[in-house]
Structures are given as structure tokens and as C-alpha cells.
């Protein structure tokens, strides 16, 4: 059990982070806090992906020290490099997360201009009073 906990600590911690994010999204009433939770949730997924690409042992970052214009092409042993594919995917995911945050913040400013508050319960109260 301890073995399982220790050898895969990345995965355990990604789950913890994800749950922190989920908790903030569902339980917090302040909308900015929800947004922060969303951000944490997305980074947790990215952490998970980065953990996939990790190798132990004699490995290095996936950057070739020579380019093709140096003339000689050496055979590349993939076992010496980390798997770069999950990293490349996560570049896009980071961009998506910042884009979502931007849209959400713009929406938050709209909400604030209308209700003058960012607490969900107060907004619902205002809505109810307007409805009756």
C-alpha cells in the first residue's frame, strides 16, 4: 500500500489538486473563487499529462543538441529522451485554459456591472426579488 502511494505520488497529488478544484467550483459561492477552482482543475489535468511523459533513469529533456544544419545526423535512441508528445499536447491545453479564464473574467465583469456583487447567493436573491 505504502509502495503504491510512494511510487505513484504524482498521480495521487494530481487527484488531490483536482478535488481541490472541484470543491472550489461546487462549494464556493464567490464567482471568482469558482474560476480559481476551475483554473486549478485544469492545471491538475495538465499535471497528469506531464506525469505520463516522465521516465526514470538516464534520460534527458527532449531537445536535440544538434540541428540538421550541422551536417551529421546521428541515430537517436528514444530511450534516452522523455516522451515529448504529452508535453506538446499540453501546450494547447494551457492555451485553452487561459482562453477560458479570459472569457470567464469578461463575463464576470458583465455580471458585476449588472448586479454590483459577485456572490452567487446575493445574485440569486436579486433575481428572485426582480421576479416577484
Amino acid at each position: 500500500m505504502l509502495e503504491l502511494l510512494l511510487s505513484k505520488y504524482n498521480y495521487w497529488l494530481y487527484v488531490i489538486l483536482m478535488m481541490i478544484g472541484l470543491y472550489a467550483m461546487l462549494a464556493k459561492r464567490n464567482l471568482v473563487k469558482k474560476l480559481i477552482g476551475m483554473n486549478i482543475f485544469q492545471t491538475a489535468v495538465i499535471l497528469f499529462y506531464v506525469s505520463i511523459g516522465v521516465k526514470t533513469g538516464d534520460v534527458t529533456v527532449p531537445i536535440l543538441p544538434y540541428g540538421h544544419h550541422h551536417g551529421h545526423e546521428q541515430a537517436i535512441n528514444v530511450a534516452h529522451y522523455l516522451n515529448p508528445l504529452p508535453h506538446v499536447l499540453m501546450l494547447t491545453a494551457i492555451v485553452v485554459s487561459i482562453a477560458t479564464a479570459g472569457v470567464a473574467l469578461a463575463v464576470l465583469i458583465l455580471i458585476y456591472r449588472r448586479y454590483r456583487t459577485l456572490e452567487e447567493d446575493e445574485i440569486l436573491k436579486i433575481n428572485q426579488e426582480a421576479g416577484t
Binding site: N10, L17, I20, K28, N30, K33, I36, G53, H87
Partner: protein, 81 residues
Amino acid sequence: MIWQLDLFLLLFVIICALAAINVRDLLSAAIILGAYSFFMCMLWAEMGAVDVAFTEATVSAGVGTVLFVAAVFKTVRRSKD
């Protein structure tokens, strides 16, 4: 990958995450979120994902924090929870 450093950074990441969602001042929350992103980026650099770390440092820790701070300045700083 050095697992001691890894664990240390992960601990910081989690502390920052908890602080960001629990602090009542939203400006502090935004800044702590920036710190969270930065620790995350160090963690990834340490795990070998330099490209991801670089992007996270510029995008989330840099521009993302500016976005959050700007939005907090435009709205309200206090939060009830």
C-alpha cells in the same frame, strides 16, 4: 527527476491551491494563484517538460495573473468565503 524536490514542490503547489481558494481577499487570491502557477511550472521543468513549463510561466503565471488582477480591480476585492 529528483523525488525529494518533486515532493517539496508538490507540497507547495497544494498549499498554494488551498490558500488561493480559502483566502478572503480576492487580490491575494489572484496573486497566490500566480504563485501556484509558478510552482507548477517549476515542478514541470523539474519533471523534464521544459516546453510546458516555459509556456506555463509566460501564459498562466504571467498574463493569467495580470488578467485576474485586472478583473479584480474592475470588480470587487472582498469575498464572503
